[in-house]
Symmetry: C2
């Protein structure tokens, strides 16, 4: 399809009529999946990188867990319905999406908590080293959790921030214990080369912990083949697990025997129901569990993950690239002279499934878009962020979204009282 040319395609190879875009949709092998989501009529939802859309099956699945498993079978469901294994069962399904082996992935807690567990565990594997390398523009919670952990450990550690644009590889040295890196930056969309940076860390004897929040479910990942040590990620973005869904963590098999985490809760114990007074971690990935698993939330997440598994990842990624290219191409075509500054890498292949555009009036422009049924979000101070979820977005949505954006910007129709930015953003 990307090589297709016809009368409706301009010099860039991108369609330049809405009709041509609709033909892309007609040929899209993922198009049928859109019906598996309960999208509100008339909405163009470009915020699936913040909160993924609702799979149609979720409500019924959660209902069944509530009424049949909890309501009827009550406490016996811990065994009968397999609640006790949910973190591993859902984790292994996520593992298939990220290229992990069975037994290397858990669905549990939040991304923040999982990062803390794994960073603490990783530091113990490199006891003689004193430095943690993190990108300075990392999603803040990763920075905050690292700061919290290192703060607890006293003055022993340096949190080395790699400024935007600087080389991460160059920041890793023989004193680096762990590198923590978002695979796709939440704002700039920069996609870091996973295999290459993992190897760069290993060359210095360091470990690497990837945050896959903005890549799991949309970018092909092969954490095991790439030799990744640890990873965490989010259940409520491209996995469509629901607001505040449980997160996931990955720990390479090779490390598991040596791992221990300070968040040593009872579900990580070798025998949780033996109620032993001393902690003795499980001998597998379960040692990274902590409290009682959130059954309702894990059940909702499982639906989203199963849906993601239905879509071949090469098709998902190809569509992601094309959605991004189409969006950027249409912005260039319609808004070349506007005060819009594309933010992040120019090439779609070097970014995640999102585009950011800077504009001094980002806030009121987004409000005007939302009023027209086009949802993206704003990242302070001046960034319009648009995410492209290939499972449920159509190419024509992208076309229409840019048309709306162009109309709003070119007619300055964002400059109305109802779209004004609040004086203090909280």
């Amino acid at each position: 399809m990307s090589t297709q040319t016809d009368a409706d395609h301009g010099a860039t190879g991108l369609p330049d009529t809405r009709e041509a875009v609709r033909r892309w949709d007609a040929c899209d092998p993922l198009a049928p999946l859109r019906d598996a989501f309960a999208l509100p009529a008339g909405q163009i939802y470009l915020d699936g990188n913040s909160l993924g859309a609702l799979p149609r099956e979720t409500a019924a699945r959660v209902q069944a867990v509530i009424e049949a498993q909890w309501g009827h079978d009550l406490v016996s469901s811990w065994n009968r319905a397999g609640w006790v294994d949910l973190p591993q069962r859902v984790g292994d399904k996520i593992g298939r999406l990220i290229g992990a082996r069975p037994g290397e992935t858990l669905a549990a807690d939040s991304t923040s908590i999982n990062l803390y567990k794994l960073l603490a565990a990783a530091l113990r594997l490199r006891p003689e080293r004193r430095c943690v390398v993190v990108a300075a523009d990392e999603f803040p919670t990763d920075l905050y959790m690292a700061e919290g952990l290192l703060g607890l450990l006293g003055d022993r550690y340096e949190l080395r921030l790699v400024e935007e644009g600087a080389s991460v590889a160059d920041a890793i040295d023989r004193d680096t214990a762990v590198v923590v890196l978002g695979h796709v930056n939440y704002r700039s969309g920069v996609l870091y080369p996973m295999a290459e940076l993992t190897e760069a860390a290993h060359r210095q004897g360091a470990l690497i912990l990837w945050d896959l929040a903005h890549s799991a479910g949309v970018i092909p990942l092969s954490v095991a083949a790439d030799g990744v040590d640890f990873a965490v990620g989010c259940g409520y973005k491209y996995l469509n697990g629901g607001p505040g869904a449980p997160a996931f963590l990955y720990a390479a098999s090779a490390h598991q025997a040596q791992l221990s985490t300070p968040l040593s809760g009872w579900f990580g114990h070798a025998q949780p129901f033996a109620f032993e007074p001393r902690y003795r971690g499980a001998d597998d990935i379960r040692k990274l569990l902590c409290g009682t698993p959130p059954v309702l939330a894990l059940s909702a997440l499982e639906v989203g993950v199963e849906l993601a598994l239905q879509a071949p990842m090469d098709q998902v990624h190809a569509k992601s690239l094309r959605l991004v290219e189409l969006f950027m191409g249409r912005v260039r075509a319609r808004l070349r002279d506007a005060a819009l500054i594309p933010f992040g890498p120019a090439a779609a292949a070097e970014r995640g499934s999102q585009v950011c555009l800077r504009h001094p009036q980002a806030w009121p422009i987004m409000q005007a878009l939302i009023a027209r049924g086009v949802t993206g979000d704003v990242r302070a101070p001046d960034i319009l962020r648009f995410g492209f979820a290939p499972l449920y977005l159509r190419y024509v949505d992208v076309w229409d979204a840019v048309e709306h954006l162009a109309e709003i910007i070119l007619t300055a129709s964002w400059d109305r009282p109802e779209f004004r930015a609040p004086r203090t953003v909280t």
Copy 2:
């Protein structure tokens, strides 16, 4: 009612016919609440201290959150539906159940994680002290999390275990930073005197962190009036929030300005959506939040908490005492000569809403009970545990449960192949 005597009441003041017990139910002011729960027909559920029953309203509430808030309003629900404030909103409702002031309670994470946050925060308030006092028979996850945290801090701290039966107050000294104590012991049912032990800790300059897992929602609590420093508790027992429901934490207002936790995730930041690179905790209870709040799970929990708020706590507690007394009285009447050994305090007022009985055949006896529709649980190695949730249990359930227990034990009908214990308990 407890002073009532009639022809059906024995010397103990307890009814000694099923008919008299049914009259207790007829006069029970909490009886109408039972209809608010979706209990399976024919079940006598004495395990609400492990997993509380399903409120009838939960399924519809969660459905509405899934379909209208998530499905239709998508990411805008963080503000429009108040998702962003759910941990505080549900927390404050739990706060009313435990006698906290508004702004002192959060619903978040798991009990284990919340204990870690608060124990770490409390240790920072007593930097010169080196000892944490914990009951040796505490629910294991509390021990494990304390062990995990102190292990991370190196050799600086002593975890001082108070053996079962020994005085907790006597174990607290001038080197004690924090006392961690389950208000009701999960196994023995011992109810510790909260005001007295809080004062004992304070007399030594120590802080106290109560685990309310087995008392919130069933025992009258006044954490603020009792001067309690910190508390955690469970959402899925007497709060009926669902399997693995979010837990809660309480931090006294007086401490909040000084508090900081190493689990410093983005939702605890003063301005989460400003995406600042450095952590700066909120200036109120929100500083104890960590990751993105689990919206579906919090919504289910809110239903259970609202239901608990409908029942006046004095009535709940009076019924709890009477359920326990009736159960123990019936066991004495029917099973005096059996090999059953009551475990824990004799007086109902000195225990939580549960009874444990030791028997060498605890496992097969419980299996035989479950086969008859009476659900309790077993705690290794030989403890039959029965919990009494006053919101949905009837006195006649207690009568019938003991009749089943007596028939099983007196006829040794537990000694059938289908009830045999598995060779290895996992």
